[in-house]
Symmetry: C2
Subunit: 624 residues, 2 copies
């Protein structure tokens, strides 16, 4: 899958003739330009502190471009000297007025988004004015985004950024806070995004990586940070390359800014395009293409019948079923010594057989192991049973018995040696595998084997303003006002930053020999924040031991390479929680049930206490 | 106004015969008893750790009392040995079951509330189970409260509390956290309340006072903390007395617990009743009786006409009008020297004259000062104008001219020397005094005087779970889902704790000589938290300088004793914010306007960032 920037733009400090500038950029391979909204000849100067600057003519006519060109070829910039938090009251008020005037004009032009430079961390009044714009309800469908430009480092080493106040190295600031403070004051508004400006000096990698949890709309690569290779062409340092290639995984749009220092401006964007293509996708994300960052509802295969399409997609997994076959093979060898191979027959029950892939795998495993088997294929979905009956007739033959029933209610004619099932969800037990297998294990022999023999869920705290907003803005039918934050979502992870390493949450073992089986769970975990960050929830994973050393995992560190059956889950929290580096994030998770339903509840207890989410399963539950 | 406990109860460890116990308590002056819900003879013991304790008979029959006696004469207690956060899993699960069983039975009895002892700070699983109960929707109207018993000190010096684990003095804990953690996990649920148990050792006064911001349902006074006076009667230490007398200001219900050590149990409650009567009400609260803790909507006298009833109430203020008279008197003396007293005539305009109290005061002041005046009484409310015309005819005579108009639109026949108005709200400018007086000052002479000449608003961060819940549960017509937290309320302060001293917010001066009048405001303030506490918003006050040293104030420190025209305001925040002692609470307030409306926005920026409240005045605004 080829990676390329969604868009490539050229940042132009002065564009007296906008059409010519767009044409020039286009000739060099850029499909849009970023220019100051105020016309350079009409630009109001901050030094005059002209309180009447708001009056009179200050902008080029909108007739210079057609509406769709304004939308797709131009990203305007607000006047860089605006300071809505200036201690000088007159200047602050003038900035406010011009800020609103420019935003209104940008809206008039119908642009997608407007870039605004941040220069400092202290921006409450800017946030107030941003809110005013973000929350204004217009009758038109156009709702421009506001893209805040933040440098990766507060050291003004980019020569072209002469508007940035020079600071000592000693007062180096973590510029992520400039963004974080504003967006929290704007309640993480979905139309507020980041324009990340690469600086020559980069902060350490951990701090840089944190930006991947933010909604980066544009990555600015200044020409001044390029080095020159032997051929005279521009190239980036290793550290810059690494970061750009990580951005490539999300096809982040790029904006090249600054003077041409390498013959032609086209060399810069060509180089970046090359980097994007070289970017390597980690194993756990190789099958995400087309699904990244899209929240999906988890399946409820116990309550709802899956459709043919769903079966077909999952049956194609190249890893999952071969590992199941592998597990059955090893179990058969363990249960039947070579000497009894000819005489003994193992009874295998595939519970939740679906359209039969585990039956097929079991037959193949038995052949490979040279052991005799008799197989029951138990399935509750009447539509899938039709497929099973076909397969029995066409392929499997008499060794397979197809049974149409709910495994929890089946009155089996005999007990089995091996109970095979694939009832696991992205969060392990979240498709009710424990409850189903507790029901099915009554027809497993005392020394029988369950495949899987155990599974575990995992969580880690994460930052993703994007997922938070996706969850917030979905139209769902929750009774409770914050219901959207009280359910889990399945998502191929793109725009996210993991605040602390993964930890194990719940574990289930089968068969369950406990005298009083209880699948409720209650666990508290402590994570340590690796950097200052804002937590928007958790990602959840699972792994499973099918049999002995045969395992499947979607935990990134132990990912089963090539497997695509499961994406991780996103578990939101209602209010984002800011955490400092080194701070303990303490969380509590419950798995609760009543007669009809099973659900999770969760709560943060440190660094500050959230309310308990999904009380009584009020917003989400798995139906038994 | 006499203060007395809402209810007086007797805490009884064992009540084999409930009717006899109630009778005994009644004979001693107690109108209810607090008893264990589980019958003592049937009590399940924690030491046996009996996982089957939940089965079988454990409670006395409900037939022993009538339904209304259960409701008014009995407060049951949950079994004190329950520990829903025990590290022992079996014991924890058993506690959970019995907890729910007992709560369900309490609900069956139709009691108002049930007492549960807390023993420790770590209670996430209890919070989860409490939520389960608090959020269960029943078809009946009975919704019992859950009253968590917390000792004022973690030292188990109350001999009768033998269930408390003994701790070293060194591990003294701030028990407020036991409560605070649970209630935050339960999202400050309105049916979760405090039973505060006085201990022999009391924490310092600052920590004790914090409890006044919590919903204290019952104050437990153990007999063991009483001293014996010369007459052999029970008495409390000065520190205990002080605290009990503060509780008296809210008529907190009292529960006496422990063995009779002073002849008769009636002596204890008599002593406490006496203390309640002796409690002194601070000046700023002397007129609160009957209004405490009830949130009211602020008036909008500019947009709506006040009713006769409202005028009548406010006209009775014994302080406000005499101070206005005083101010007019001093202004007249300053403007007209003795030598001109016979010849000069001062023009006074009373703008917003209402039913005329300021006109009357001005006439009295002129007589007192022996100066000639001509008075215009300007009023927009046509109904009040009728009263003014009556008063002119009956009392005032020709020196008063009644004008029916909006002061902002009046075309005055001459300019005045003194412009008198009473347009101030509880938060100073919140009834649009600045905008009204800016309009009216065109007919004030260049050297003329405005009474008031200035006013200032004040705020302080506060804790009051009660106000937060009142605000949350009011049925208002807000478009925005969190609109109830985006408006101000007027409230006579009772159940509240001030986290830091008052600071000044905005100031307005009249006449406003600025060339470009701008009544928008933007200010950031820093407060220092005096104790660990949970902030639920702000209280707001104002003061005003009528003329020179003539002032009115509802700021507690400078309160105009006897004045009752204004209660403070409560300004909520959407999410409670926990703050640590010594931490800086940084807040930003804006006063914003457009052509039709004026509104406030507010935001916390430290210790953590809240979203900005009331963006664009979406939930509340004053109509121009």
């Amino acid at each position: 899958m080829s990676r390329k920037p969604k868009n490539c733009g050229l940042d132009v400090a002065v564009a007296s003739n906008l059409n010519a500038t767009i044409q020039l950029a286009h000739d060099c391979g850029y499909n849009f330009v970023c220019v100051p909204l105020a016309h350079p000849m009409l630009r109001r100067d901050m030094k005059t502190r002209d309180v009447d600057a708001v009056k009179g003519r200050w902008v080029r006519t909108d007739l210079v471009l057609g509406a769709s060109e304004w939308q797709y070829r131009v990203v305007p910039r607000l006047s860089p000297w605006l300071n809505l938090d200036s201690p000088n009251e007159a200047f602050r008020k003038n900035s406010e007025e011009i800020f609103l005037q420019e935003l209104q004009f940008a809206h008039h032009l119908g642009i997608r988004g407007i870039v605004m430079d941040l220069h400092q961390r202290h921006n409450p009044n800017l946030a107030q004015c941003l809110n005013k714009r973000l929350h204004t309800e217009t009758s038109t469908y156009l709702r421009e985004e506001i893209w805040l430009q933040i440098p990766t480092s507060s050291r003004a080493t980019n020569s072209y950024r002469n508007d940035v106040i020079e600071t000592d190295d000693e007062s180096e600031e973590d510029t992520w806070h400039w963004w974080n403070d504003v967006r929290l004051m704007c309640q993480s508004h979905a139309r507020l995004m980041v324009v990340l400006e690469l600086t020559a000096d980069l902060p350490e990698e951990g701090l840089l990586d944190r930006w991947h949890g933010e909604p980066i709309e544009l990555l600015i690569v200044p020409t001044s940070i390029f080095l020159t290779n032997k051929g005279g062409f521009p190239t980036l340092s290793k550290a810059h390359q690494r970061f750009v290639m990580k951005c490539a995984l999300r096809n982040t749009a790029v904006l090249v800014s600054g003077a041409n220092r390498h013959g032609s401006l086209k060399h810069y964007i060509q180089y970046i395009r090359n980097l994007y293509q070289k970017a390597e996708v980690p194993p756990s994300r190789q099958h995400d293409a087309g699904f990244e960052d899209t929240l999906q509802m988890p399946l409820q295969p116990l309550a709802d019948h899956l459709e043919s399409f769903t079966y077909e997609v999952f049956e194609k997994d190249p890893v999952k079923y071969s590992e199941y076959g592998n597990a059955v093979y090893k179990a058969l060898l363990d249960r039947v010594p070579e000497s009894e191979a000819a005489t003994a027959t193992q009874v295998i029950m595939v519970v939740g057989a679906g359209r039969g892939p585990l039956v097929t795998q079991s037959i193949l495993a038995a052949k490979e192991a040279k052991r005799n088997v008799r197989i029951y294929a138990v399935e509750k979905n009447p539509n899938a049973v039709q497929t099973l009956l076909d397969l029995k007739k066409e392929d499997w033959g008499e060794i397979v018995t197809v049974v149409h029933t709910d495994m929890r209610k089946w009155n089996a004619p005999e007990k089995c040696d091996i109970l095979v099932s694939e009832l696991l969800g992205s969060f392990g037990d979240n498709e009710l595998s424990p409850e189903c297998l507790d029901g099915a294990q009554v027809f497993l022999k005392d020394d029988g084997i369950s495949i899987p023999s155990s599974y575990r869920s995992f969580i880690q705290p994460m930052m993703s303003m994007k997922y938070y907003n996706e969850a917030r803005n979905l139209k769902l039918n929750h009774h409770h006002p914050t219901g959207n934050f009280e359910q889990t979502y399945v998502v191929a992870l793109g725009s996210s930053y993991m605040i602390a390493p993964v930890q194990q949450l719940f574990e289930f073992v089968h068969p369950n020999k406990s005298p009083a089986i209880d699948n409720s769970r209650y666990k508290s975990l402590k994570f340590t924040a690796q950097e200052d960050s804002t937590m928007y929830g958790f990602t959840g994973y699972f792994d499973t031991t099918l049999y002995k050393d045969v395992r499947l995992s979607i935990v990134p560190e132990t990912f089963s390479v090539g497997m695509f059956s499961w994406f991780p889950v996103y578990i939101p929290i209602q209010e984002p929680i800011y955490v400092r580096k080194g701070e303990i994030i303490e969380v509590v998770f419950w798995r609760r049930h009543d007669e009809k339903r099973v659900w999770y509840e969760w709560c943060i207890t440190n660094p500050r206490i959230s309310g308990i989410h999904n009380v009584n399963g009020r917003s989400s539950a798995m139906n038994l």
